[in-house]
């Protein structure tokens, strides 16, 4: 016969285990507001609990050299590093640096493409965050002829 107290204790242990593996659904669903408010690459990495980002040639960022319309800038981020947990796309000079964060599983390649708004010419970063919290990045300058923010 299990008492209520024991049941509670056990479920707390299970919840703790789930949280430590990063599988806890509640935690996964929480929107990373702090990271989306951060202004720089270092701040974003810190908000996500990752280490100081290091430049790496195993991470690739793609985009045009010159974007005519800052409202729609096609950007890609990919990495060949095995075990990447998250792939981020950042635009340094936007009001908030982080554009998008992709959570990678074993079933998808760490290779994503999307379109972003850019307020002005800026460096664009692709960041790969590994399972152990190490962060690697690549950067590229994109010149914008017509800004996509404000208006």
């Amino acid at each position: 016969m299990q008492t209520r107290r024991e049941t509670l204790k056990q479920s707390a242990v299970v919840a703790g285990l789930l949280a430590s593996t990063g599988l806890f659904p509640q935690q996964a669903a929480a929107y990373q507001k702090a990271a989306f408010d951060a202004k720089t690459l270092a701040e974003v990495a810190k908000a996500l609990g990752a280490g100081a980002p290091v430049e790496s040639k195993d991470v690739t960022v793609g985009g045009p050299d010159i974007a005519e319309n800052g409202a729609v800038v096609p950007l890609t981020a990919s990495t060949t590093l095995a075990g990447a947990k998250r792939v981020l796309i950042l635009v340094e000079k936007n009001p908030a640096a982080m554009v998008a964060m992709f959570n990678v599983t074993d079933s998808v390649e760490a290779n994503f493409a999307t379109r972003a708004k850019m307020g002005q010419s800026s460096d664009v970063y692709a960041v790969a965050i590994m399972g152990d919290g190490k962060a690697f990045y690549a950067k590229k300058e994109v010149k914008v002829t017509l800004g996509g923010c404000g208006g």
């Binding site: 554009v99 998008a100 992709f102 493409a113 708004k117």
Partner: protein, 103 residues
């Protein structure tokens, strides 16, 4: 209710490239209307993709993703006939799910 997404999933070898075009305003919260008042932010925050019912990717977006967002990703082990479903949720709590078959 928002307009449907356009999803295209094409198999090549043992993986499939999925391209999604969502229909969403993606208001950044930075713009002002003609009266000088800031237009409140309205954007997709969470995106989830599933392959035959199993979640393969989740993403979190900020307001800097373009209007009518485009997303491309590659699902490993997907073959023709498999189902790919994509859903999103915006910061006003609106959501939408659409499904496509890998070709």
């Amino acid at each position: 209710m928002a307009d449907p997404m356009r999803i295209r999933a094409q198999a090549a070898g043992d993986k499939a490239t999925v391209r999604v075009l969502m229909s969403h305003e993606m208001e950044s919260g930075q713009r002002k209307d003609s009266a000088g008042k800031t237009i409140p932010a309205w954007f997709i925050q969470e995106v989830t993709a599933s392959h035959n019912g199993k979640v393969v990717m989740t993403a979190e977006w900020g307001p800097a993703v373009s209007k009518n967002p485009f997303l491309q990703f590659v699902v490993k082990g997907a073959k023709a006939g498999d189902k790919i479903s994509v859903s999103w949720k915006d910061n006003k709590g609106d959501s939408r799910t659409d499904e496509a078959t890998v070709s």
